[in-house]
């Protein structure tokens, strides 16, 4: 059993290196932001360990600092993390027959972990469940380590952090660019941007997310109906 784990570790570790660099960097930015807003190491550690959702944690700094209604925080969490629903749906097949670590693997399915495991074709000689575990666990460790480091260093060396939270925007722009390159049909991506911009102009910055999600769902559903009709027609011929 130990040998299985060690073999899987040697296979999994190199795949996590890009995430390591990214998570330590973004984690540090998060730790510093927490520190700037008056939240120390216990808060930072708890959030990174138990919430473990990068974008939501960034938004969470504002929610914590403002002391918003927890119900508001909960709804915000559902909205921002709604995309995880679709990562889960994409992994239904791959995670289907896992046993020992399944619950943890689902808990730790962040954007970056998803991007590593979803394309993973583990060789037969290596235990895939262990590989998934190492990828997920290592990434989790990088994130926790980065945020704690940023939180501690942020209170030692002080520098002008104005604009540091742009790292989050940068991350999404990078994912957006990757997705754009990987796909010929840009309808869904354009729907997301256009629907959000229109709702932002109509409803304002504080309340546009829910209308935007509804608009996006309606447009995508129309696309689904169009495709379904086309299939029926083709089947009928």
């Amino acid at each position: 059993m130990e040998k299985k784990g060690a073999l899987a570790f040697r296979y999994a570790f190199p795949k996590t290196v890009p995430v390591m660099v990214g998570y330590i960097f973004l984690g540090m930015a998060y730790g510093i932001l927490m520190e700037v807003n008056g939240f120390g190491i216990v808060w930072t550690l708890a959030m990174s360990l138990l919430v473990y959702a990068g974008s939501l944690q960034y938004v969470g700094v504002t929610l914590l600092a403002a002391g918003v209604n927890p119900v508001h925080a909960f709804l915000m969490g559902l909205m921002i993390n709604a995309r995880h629903l679709f990562y889960g749906i994409s992994m239904l097949g791959k995670y289907r027959d896992l046993k020992r670590f399944k619950a943890y693997l689902i808990f730790a399915l962040t954007d970056e972990t998803f991007s590593v495991v979803c394309n993973e074709k583990v060789p037969r000689a290596i235990d895939r469940e262990w590989v998934f575990l190492w990828v997920s666990l290592l990434n989790h460790c990088y994130w926790v380590l980065g945020s704690v480091l940023g939180n501690v260093l942020g209170s030692v060396i002080s520098f002008n952090t104005k604009g540091l939270d742009f790292a989050l925007t940068a991350l999404f722009v990078v994912i957006f660019t990757d997705q754009w390159k990987s796909r010929k049909d840009h309808g869904p991506a354009l729907t997301g941007v256009a629907g959000s911009v229109i709702c932002l102009l109509l409803f304002g910055a504080d309340r546009f997310i829910i209308p935007a999600m509804i608009v996006i769902l309606v447009i995508l559903s129309a696309g689904y109906r169009r495709e379904a009709k086309k299939e029926v027609k083709e089947d009928g011929r």
């Binding site: 890009p18 960097f25 708890a46 959030m47 919430v51 939501l56 969470g60 929610l63 914590l64 002391g67 927890p70 925080a73 909960f74 915000m76 969490g77 921002i80 993390n81 995309r83 995880h84 629903l85 679709f86 990562y87 889960g88 749906i89 239904l92 027959d97 689902i106 808990f107 002008n160 104005k162 604009g163 540091l164 742009f166 790292a167 925007t169 940068a170 999404f172 722009v173 990078v174 957006f176 660019t177 990757d178 997705q179 309808g187 869904p188 991506a189 729907t191 997301g192 941007v193 629907g195 959000s196 935007a212 999600m213 996006i216 995508l220 559903s221 696309g223 689904y224 495709e227 379904a228």
Partner: protein, 111 residues
């Protein structure tokens, strides 16, 4: 424990619960051996693209075109990220450089 701390713990708990729900729900709804409806499958293929687009807009929601900088720091930094990422495809480089450019712009140029 003061009220502020209790509220903070409640907020953190709410964020953790929301995250758990979004990550576990698909596996509860579609357990091993059950077929996924075609509509859900279609959404699973298209929604991630729309969602990231929405999140980019979400990050920029507080940018005011009427402000002194006219949203230029954001526009320039995003252009740098897209060009760099299209060219090199290195996520860290793109994120690091884009953030550095943005910080320099808001701290020095448009300060």
């Amino acid at each position: 424990m003061d009220g502020e701390m209790v509220r903070g713990i409640c907020i953190a708990g709410a964020l953790a619960a929301a995250t758990l729900i979004t990550r576990f729900l698909p596996f509860f709804l579609f357990p091993a051996g059950k077929n996924i409806p075609k509509y859900v499958e279609y959404l699973g293929k298209t929604l991630p693209f729309a969602t990231i687009g929405m999140l980019v807009v979400y990050c920029l929601k507080d940018v005011r075109m009427s402000a002194a900088s006219h949203g230029l720091p954001e526009l320039i930094s995003i252009a740098v990220i897209v060009v760099l990422h299209w060219w090199k495809g290195n996520s860290l480089l793109s994120i690091g450089a884009g953030t550095a450019v943005y910080m320099a712009l808001v701290q020095r140029v448009f300060a």
